[in-house]
Subunit: 228 residues, 2 copies
Amino acid sequence: MARKAKLKSAAGKQKRLSPDDRRREFVAKATEFFAEQGFGGGTRDLARRLGVTQPLLYRYFPSKDDLIREVYRTVYLEPLDTGWEKLLTDRSRPIRERLREFYNAYTNVIFSRKWLRIYLYSGLKGLDINRRYVAVVQDQILMPIIRECRHEAGLPAQNKPTAAELEMAWVFHSGIFYYGVRKHIYGSSVLEDKQQMIADALDAYLAGFERVFGTGVAPRRAPVKAVG
Amino acid sequence: MARKAKLKSAAGKQKRLSPDDRRREFVAKATEFFAEQGFGGGTRDLARRLGVTQPLLYRYFPSKDDLIREVYRTVYLEPLDTGWEKLLTDRSRPIRERLREFYNAYTNVIFSRKWLRIYLYSGLKGLDINRRYVAVVQDQILMPIIRECRHEAGLPAQNKPTAAELEMAWVFHSGIFYYGVRKHIYGSSVLEDKQQMIADALDAYLAGFERVFGTGVAPRRAPVKAVG
DNA sequence: ATAATTAGTGATCAGGCGATAAACAATCAT
DNA sequence: ATGATTGTTTATCGCCTGATCACTAATTAT
């Protein structure tokens, strides 16, 4: 219903937005609201923030849960289809440069109080959408990275990375991710220069990959003695 | 009031626990409850879980908030006074071994669904206790680690690590931390062998520290070009 | 045994919650 | 201009929440 965008009163002072735009506006502000308050935040407070009365929300969304679902949808899907895999696998450029550029771009998208809080809340709820996002990160980011690292290290190409390779990529990725959490959620004072943080973390990861999985004669994987 | 432990009916079937023990039992079960439900969980549900009626909670705790505070207190303080700093700075043992042992012990404490969820919830609330915990991690764990790494790399000892050193330690630490989050909260399938994950992450960190901050003639800190 | 004290319960209150229905206001089609 | 349609508000419902009070049951002290 009401699908076509009505170009009415394009120049006049618009008191009313088009229904779709209004809806989008509600979702956007609801996202900010729930990011701060958590999804336990009340519909009355949300409506006050929107400058409308509470029952109006129920003309645009059948229930609070539906509104919340829409918030998830937009927050999660917005930043996802950006063709990052291509950037990562462009072997005409050095791997360090590709990875730096990727993580700078990626963190530009997810390092916001809003995004990170919604993400953490949904994770604590155990939502499917969160699991799916984690799977996307693993398949479209970490696995390509590992493939490139194997290539770089002169290791034979394999479709499936080993569990240990995957884990090390996760630790690296999570370390960068948590920089955002510390900055935007905990309010910690972090290294101001995000690019340097990424570059250093990357150097450690690449050095670690080489040392742990690489072909060099130098100390490969050190034996893991049971300690403690 | 009622401070002295009453050794009554030591052998008999005890229907009632001592007040202090009962209180502790309440806090313990409330911790599990809030860890799952979040702190929005209702006092009635909690009471049902405890096998008592809801008003009884208010005999032991003035308000729900007080109970929650006590939950935080026990969860945060329990694992903290374990003299980890000494373990980290014992230079009679190789640094790899010390760090492995430390992180195995540390993760044994914090890698539980209960602890991690309470931690994340309190972080989202922006609670002071969370900030204090972060400060403790930085002062009593990361800074000693950096000091040891500087020593190991033959760098001059400094009281204060640089911001970049600190950041790299945080990224490494957070990466390990997030292994627990992925396993116990997201329910992801992680590398089963926690010790190997720690050992590999450690190798990467140590290699990265050497490469980025070390004294070697080999490529030190690569220049960070602005990308993207 | 009896009185005093403590532990626990049932009933209930005021307030906030999500959601609904009916009335009013603004816009659109004709 | 008029009627239909859509957007918004006022008033309200039933339910659940944290918290309180008066009361009963169990324990302790004398």
